[in-house]
């Protein structure tokens, strides 16, 4: 993937790379992100690691608007970044995402 444009948007993946109600990890703009496809077919992006003990959220479980960490079952709302269940207490950083021409773009800067 190339670096971000002047407006900070960068191509992350194809729409079809992510199943509905799922998450994948992507590398773009020299960084790693978790990209989500919601049950409503909207796309969202967050930092890739749980704020509790840095487990990869891409190995976790998406249920509705919630991503559950695979290590201790801490939960976040991936649309708002809010930590909703201990041991996750610190909110997750989120990034705007949009779809164009079957590709998912996220704003990283």
């Amino acid at each position: 993937m190339s670096g971000p444009g002047a407006d900070g948007w960068v191509e992350a993946c194809a729409v079809d790379d992510i199943e509905t109600e799922d998450v994948i990890e992507v590398q773009c703009a020299g960084r790693t992100f978790a990209v989500y496809r919601s049950p409503q077919d909207t796309f969202h992006a967050t930092d890739p690691l749980c704020t509790h003990e840095r487990a990869s959220l891409a190995d976790g479980l998406v249920q509705g608007d919630i991503i559950e960490c695979p290590k201790h079952n801490g939960r976040f709302n991936y649309k708002t970044g809010e930590a909703t269940r201990p041991p996750a207490r610190e909110n997750l950083c989120i990034y705007p995402a949009r779809v164009e021409g079957g590709r998912v773009f996220i704003c990283v800067g």
Binding site: H52, L61, Q63, P70, N73, R85, P87, R89
Partner: protein
Amino acid sequence: MATTEKTDYSLIGPNAQRAAEQGLVAAEWYHPEVARKRMKELMRRSDGPAARDTALWLALLVVSGVGGGLFWGTWLTVPFFIVYGVLYGSATDSRWHESGHGTAFKTSWVNDVLYQVASFMNIKEPTFWRWSHARHHTDTIIVGRDREIAAMRPPDAAKLLINVVGLRDAWDTAISVARHAAGRLTEEEKTFIPEGERFRVYREARAWVAIYALVVAAAIVLHSFLPLMYVGLPSLYGRWLATLFGLSQHAGLAENVLDHRLNARTIRMNPVLRFLYWNMNYHVEHHMFPMVPYHALPALHAEVAAELPTPYPSLWAAYREIVPTLLRQMREPGYYVRRELPPTAQPFRPEMHNAVFEA
């Protein structure tokens, strides 16, 4: 190594520092590869199995409790309270555990209600143990990090034996509840309970004191032990099975490894025990994938069995290993059971794996 030294398990002692220096803290652990699609199926949540099992558990509690009350004062009360005690003092341990992981029910608030109720019956303070158990999963059987090591080396036979009826757990919890109700934590507790969560620990401890005070008051007013037979005492007289289950999970196995195949047991059990234990006999699998609900653990086991040591055929078989091991560790604390991987499995971090077998 076959040492005779007593190990320091303190979370604020030199072994806590040593674990960090050896890269054992919040480290990467071995887990078998399972295709994402299959893992999503296994992780899928459902209210159905836990609703069925909880309804059955509650119904059995009511039936055995009513029977015990009806026959109170006669010998016929004994079998009813044996059943009631196991359901109250032992089966709640796995209910506490599974709802603490948030995997019992799909519906979050039901998990939370079950967690509070089961924590009380299981005499495990809810917030305190939530954080303790998170640490147990991060640093499983890492000396100086994991406070849930049931059989420390050398094993203390007296403590292990009195805990068959929960006396050690009850005493520790009574002291801890009193301390927390007074708004205090130990230095060790501060290492795993975040500051923002401590008010919950204090609040829950005060609620427990109030509940137990009411039950004792009821016993005094009624001039009867019967209220205590329903609330409080079953955490002791019904504890034995939870103790047997709990000790079988890790006792006598390797410490300070990053591979649950070497420090946990999977044990085959009959359907009655698996109902009471909510499938935690698949303990290696649970540690590798704590997101998988209890009702999917048999399927997870089938998925990863080729990578795991042979399961113990029964609880009896596990204890035929555990008891002699603990007895030997009393005079030789460095001794532990080396779990052999099947030929189909690969060791994780060979240098660490080999060290387990060469020690």
